[in-house]
Amino acid sequence: MIGLLLRFYPARWRARYGDEFAALLDERSLGPFDVADVLLGALDAHLHLRGLGAASEHAKGFAMSLRIGGFAAIAGGILWFSGLALSSINQGGDALFALAFGVGTLALLIALIGLSAFQARQYPRLVWAAFVVPALGAVVSLIGMVGMATTGDLPFIGTWSGWSIWAIGVLALIVGSALFGIATVRARALSRPAAATLAISSIVVIPILLGVGVLDDLLPAAAAPLGMALAALAFAGGWVGLGVSALRIDRARPVAQAGGTA
């Protein structure tokens, strides 16, 4: 009887689930309800397997966006901070600073795309709104870097120099990162401590970049650069933390207790 019922299922389905399904049917005395349910299940399996290719591709794309976003967030955070550190200590020249900052910014843009695609399944409006500002900022800052490399201090677009465009882009990237951090805390899909760190550090860095000098007023002169460095480190650390949590989810580690096997 069980063998006959299994034959109604497609061969592909039987290859994957056949043994365990037969074991399940062995354990249960089959009534009319079960037989009807199995036959309907077989019909569903035939219909479903026709669309399985598309669903499978969708799932692969979902996992891939998480993986790419995770690696990009880690690389982007580290490179972005390295670029800032190189520019501060001014060793290794402008080329290394530009390379680290440029690649780091590009990586953060990729991270934004990958992680937003992952989180948007739950809060599409919130996450995509928080994606637009930093993504535009990253693109603008990259355009600014091209301007700095090609025209130096001269106007690059209109009366704007490459440096001005880059600075506006970086500012938007940081403001947007604060929004992205807040959205990520709300979405709960990735690490909330890392998202909160990103949001808070971004908010701290903004007045410093704007030259408001808040830290200069609050802290002794020697401590202000340290505050800036810590805020920048926290900003990079927030991105790295989000990347690590994305990779952990991608591995899909079990959350249940192993001892509970029934």
Partner: protein, 107 residues
């Protein structure tokens, strides 16, 4: 209220019951069936169970682990746990809303 387990159609409810059943540890098919039946008082047919299991596995919400004899246990993934928690939170809020409205409508 829109379902939070995506694109499962008529298998959304069995899928939710399966995810809840797996939330306290891995179980194989027969254990899930008996657990769901004990918890809801309604039977979960084997055909429905495996149609929902296959969809949950495709979406990465559950995963199979090494079989014991011919029985293969399944467990929640981290993504599955997140989706389940969100859905249960929404259902709780929806139930609260309904109960509040009932209380208000009571003469």
């Amino acid at each position: 209220m829109p379902p939070r387990i995506p694109e499962l159609g008529r298998f959304a409810e069995p899928a939710l019951l399966i995810l809840v059943s797996l939330s306290d540890g891995p179980k194989h098919g027969y254990a899930i069936m008996t657990d769901v039946e004990a918890g809801t008082g309604r039977p979960l047919g084997p055909g429905t169970l495996y149609a929902a299991l296959a969809r949950l596995e495709e979406r990465g919400l559950i995963e199979a682990i090494a079989p014991v004899d011919r029985r293969r246990p399944y467990r929640l993934t981290a993504v599955g746990a997140t989706v389940l928690a969100d859905q249960l939170r929404d259902l709780a809020e929806f139930a609260d809303l309904g109960l509040r409205r009932l209380g208000r409508a009571r003469p």
